[in-house]
Symmetry: C2
Subunit: 338 residues, 2 copies
DNA sequence: ATTATAATAGCAAACGTTTGCAAAAGGTGG
DNA sequence: CCACCTTTTGCAAACGTTTGCTATTATAAT
């Protein structure tokens, strides 16, 4: 028999594994002396329970899966940190999967994570169908979406109000005197992109400005697509003039800024730019990019709290929860007052 | 008996669990027809193996623990991403622990991770004693250190050459004509801080410049300590004048810059600054902080490769491996040529 | 037809726990 | 001294797999 196991220690003491187990878990109700004996033996062997065996028996791994498109982004890093901070006291740990923004990888990971019997799932999906999570939902494993929300009923999600994000951005540009406002949108097949575009449109129409479709370009959230979209906008500038552009992802913002610079144009004198999710460096000393921000820390905290709530209700069906947090404007130096 | 298990499906087929298990794992050598029958049944029930049970039986969880002081830092985020990228094809997943730069939390997490029987450990420790990892090492669980290296024999580590980092920084400042160079060091009780300081000192002495202890300040890697250290340097500036400062962590660099700005001094005209681990924004358009950088992606990739190597040598003792990668200088606009 | 051999499938132990139930031991009162 | 009640401990099944060995059956060789 293997050393270091409950059984082994039990045998050495001439006791049963049951007794030792109960002592280990503080459920022992017997004689004080034997309790002490067991405790001493545990100490002597520096006994460490095998959580794998425990998980099998209890059918609960105390593990929460977090599936994200890119952990190296500060946005997701902060969310992960806050979730971890929230759930760690209850003994849960995080298992991490980075999908590299690939739907295929996402599906593969979700399959593996299901096999691994994680207790809950946090998912920043890029697969709007939501197919791959059905197994989780069918088996009452709590799922919380962040960022994109798939078109499914009865799911929980914590994100910002992306429509409002678009409105705030455009309203600010309007308040600075801009009237011809372009935008670069990520894929509209997911909610984040679609909603941000909706916000852009509604802010314009609320101010009786007609939407101009040639001022709306689409990308894929990545840097190159932002660059390309910006080039198209600039190439078409005499037909469809604009003084400001609202870019809806961090990487696309960098791409757009680079495109502008490559044409030797100046920000904000020639073109004003408002970005998204830009984490300006914290020395607040140098030129900063004006940006829409999401409260990542609050998102993470809320996700953690919701998970703990779900995980403590062991039996009942989880009630759908949707929280939409407020995006906010962080003013910088890339928008010019006209 | 529970539905969806091997046993259940086996019973339904009138076969034994062994047979079904072997089919599932591609180890079946029997009759083609029964193989098909089993396959069909698996398909029909959409059988999903329970990895927890598997782990218990195989005493291997296919899980690698990554313990870090702060996952929201791009530096660590990138390392994690690269490790994950490297090991995921082999079926390993990452379990993440954020120690919030607290030795106590680190110890607690290491205990838990040991219980959870992770197959390997990546550790950016802040506890130079290395006590908490002894269990892992004693049980032949591969451990790879990044960032700090504790004072232990026979351990593997992948970091940069921190002494060289200090030298590069100081050499660059010297080449720009600076002769009075201050530095702000993180704790010297860990290797990163101590080595960077050693590099600073050796670069000075190599150039026959006498070290001035009042130009060496210590912090704890965090922003406030950088601010405070910089204030002390500035307050003492007529007694111990300097034209440049080398700050050895990202957060302390921001703190130092802020302190300089709060005194209405200009960077780089009044004081030149060279930072550490600064991730300048990628639009390469605006003023950037001159900084020493580490090749996080290479570090992560190397860690992943080493782990896979260790994990494939199931029996033999793991040979100690130490890789010191090259830090590099990223020139920005915060160092003035005198 | 008999025996040797190969092909096929199952038994049962093992991995390390937890826990409902039952048994043994000890104690109390009549 | 017996019946009964507590207290203390153990049995054994369960969680869902994997795998060495063995048993059965089919096939081939003599």
């Amino acid at each position: 028999m293997n050393k270091g196991t409950l059984k082994y220690i039990a045998k050495e003491l001439g006791l049963s594994a049951s007794t030792v187990s109960r002592v280990v878990n503080g459920k022992y109700e017997g004689n004080e002396k034997t309790k002490q004996r067991v405790l001493d033996a545990l100490e002597k062997h520096s006994y460490i329970p095998n959580e794998v065996a425990r998980s099998l028996q209890k059918s609960s791994t105390e593990t929460i899966a977090v599936v994200l498109p890119d952990i190296s982004e500060t946005f997701f890093g902060t969310i992960v940190k806050e979730i971890e901070n929230e759930v760690s006291d209850s003994g849960y740990m995080l298992i991490l999967a980075d999908t590299h923004e690939k739907a295929e990888k996402e599906r593969k990971y979700l399959d593996i994570l299901y096999k691994r019997r994680v207790d809950a799932l946090v998912l920043a999906t890029i697969d709007s169908s939501g197919d791959a999570v059905s197994k989780f939902i069918a088996n009452d494993i709590p799922v919380v979406f962040i960022d994109n929300i798939p078109k499914l009923d009865g799911i929980s999600a914590i994100t910002i109000d992306n429509k409002k994000a678009g409105q705030i951005a455009v309203d600010y540009l309007l308040s600075c005197g801009h009237r011809q406002i372009a935008t670069i949108i990520g894929s509209t097949s997911e909610t984040t992109g679609a909603d941000r575009l909706a916000g852009y449109c509604s802010a314009l129409s609320d101010n009786n400005i007609e939407k101009n479709d040639s001022l709306i370009k689409f990308g894929d959230y990545k840097l190159d697509s932002g660059y390309k979209a910006m080039c198209e906008l600039l190439d078409n500038r005499n037909k469809a003039p604009f003084t400001a552009v609202f870019v809806t992802s961090e990487q696309m913002t960098y791409g757009a800024l680079r495109a502008i610079r490559d044409r030797s144009l100046n920000v904000p004198d020639d073109i004003s730019v408002i970005g998204f999710d830009i984490h300006n460096l914290k020395d607040d000393r140098r030129q900063m990019i004006t940006t829409i921000r999401q409260p990542e820390d609050v998102i993470g905290k809320n996700v953690g709290e919701l998970l703990l709530k779900y995980l403590s209700e062991n039996d009942t069906a989880k009630e759908e929860t949707r929280i939409f947090l407020e995006p906010f404007l962080q003013k910088g130096d890339t928008v010019k007052k006209l």
